[in-house]
């Protein structure tokens, strides 16, 4: 069970809803992934196109928990406004604080992320900040009341996988709220490694939506996250420098 604030989830995969080829593929990918938390962005509406379909309207909202993000915000003030807009929909209490500090790398601005998270915790939101893989920053975010910490594996949408497993492990070991590896996942093995490190969940989007077959990749990610989690719970063997035979050395019928 993944527990975030007052919520409980059986799936440890959090799925983004951006950039799918079409709604039909997206719906099937979401179904197959068995994700229970879906991320969204908040944007201006085209008021002249009321008939335009919206993915959210085709979702069974009893089945899913919405995790809107503050993407697009460059300052804490802007992020807090987006969070409040999202909450005013009456559809969600959770917010992914996403404050990009560098447009080229899309890495987060730690100072604005701290400010926004602090304010949103005070306002009663369930706050999940996207952060860089800095253990001290993660500790600060936890101390100010964030409900989960979401360090990136590598830059958003880069598909580079887990660039610094050591830093992620430090964060996982020292954080008591859930740690969700967010951003940069490219393959099912990346997601499995994140879970083997002891992460409580993985948030990914492009790895599925940008795959040649998003539906198949959604299933692969679901299985990888389950496998990685089971592996973590089972406890891996110690690494040894030299070979150790699996078969008994005694009783061989040779010589």
């Amino acid at each position: 069970m993944l527990r975030i604030g007052p919520f409980e989830f059986s799936s440890r995969l959090l799925l983004g809803t951006g950039k799918y080829p079409n709604f039909d593929v997206q719906k099937k990918a979401v179904d197959v992934s068995e994700a229970e938390i879906l991320t969204f962005a908040v944007r201006r509406m085209n008021i002249f196109e009321a008939s335009q379909p919206n993915f959210l309207e085709n979702l069974d909202l009893k089945k899913y928990t919405l995790l809107p993000n503050t993407a697009g915000a460059k300052t804490a003030k802007e992020a807090v406004r987006i969070a409040k807009l999202a909450k005013a929909s009456g559809l969600c209490d959770m917010i992914k604080v996403e404050l990009i500090g560098c447009q080229k790398t899309l890495l987060p601005d730690p100072i604005e992320t701290i400010k926004a998270s602090e304010e949103l915790v005070k306002e009663g939101f369930i706050v999940l900040p996207y952060t860089s893989d800095d253990v001290v920053l993660a500790k600060h975010l936890e101390d100010l009341g964030c409900h989960a910490i979401m360090p990136g594996a590598s830059p958003i949408g880069s598909g580079q996988g887990i660039m610094n497993p050591l830093n992620l492990r430090f964060i996982i070991e020292q954080t008591t709220v859930p740690v969700i590896i967010d951003a940069g996942i490219g393959t099912p093995s990346d997601a499995a490694i994140a879970m083997e490190l002891g992460a409580d969940g993985v948030l990914l989007n492009t790895a599925v939506s940008g795959a040649k077959d998003p539906i198949k990749m959604a299933e692969a990610m679901k299985l990888a996250i389950k496998a990685g989690r089971l592996g973590f719970e089972a406890g891996r063997i110690a690494r040894k420098e030299y070979g150790q035979a699996s078969s008994p050395v005694e009783g061989m019928s040779i010589g």
Binding site: V42, M45, E57, P68, G157
Partner: protein
């Protein structure tokens, strides 16, 4: 009456007096839409009683795909 919606100046018919009627006017009343009026975010329950005035600045946002 003239109001600004999502940064665009628009002429609104005289019979559109409330936020709720504005949403109906654009066929958005069944949509998930969040309204901000002059930098104040409105709760959904207040759309019906919130009156519009000439020169109001309205933001209408919704959820789109994102990660």
């Amino acid at each position: 009456m003239e109001i600004v919606i999502n940064g665009e100046k628009l002429e609104i018919p005289i019979d559109v007096a409330t936020v709720s009627e504005l949403l109906q006017h654009y066929g958005l009343n069944q949509k998930v839409v969040i309204v901000e009026l002059n930098n104040e975010i409105l709760e959904k329950g207040n759309h019906q009683e919130t009156l519009l005035s000439n020169g109001d600045r309205v933001e209408m946002v919704h959820f789109v795909g994102g990660g």
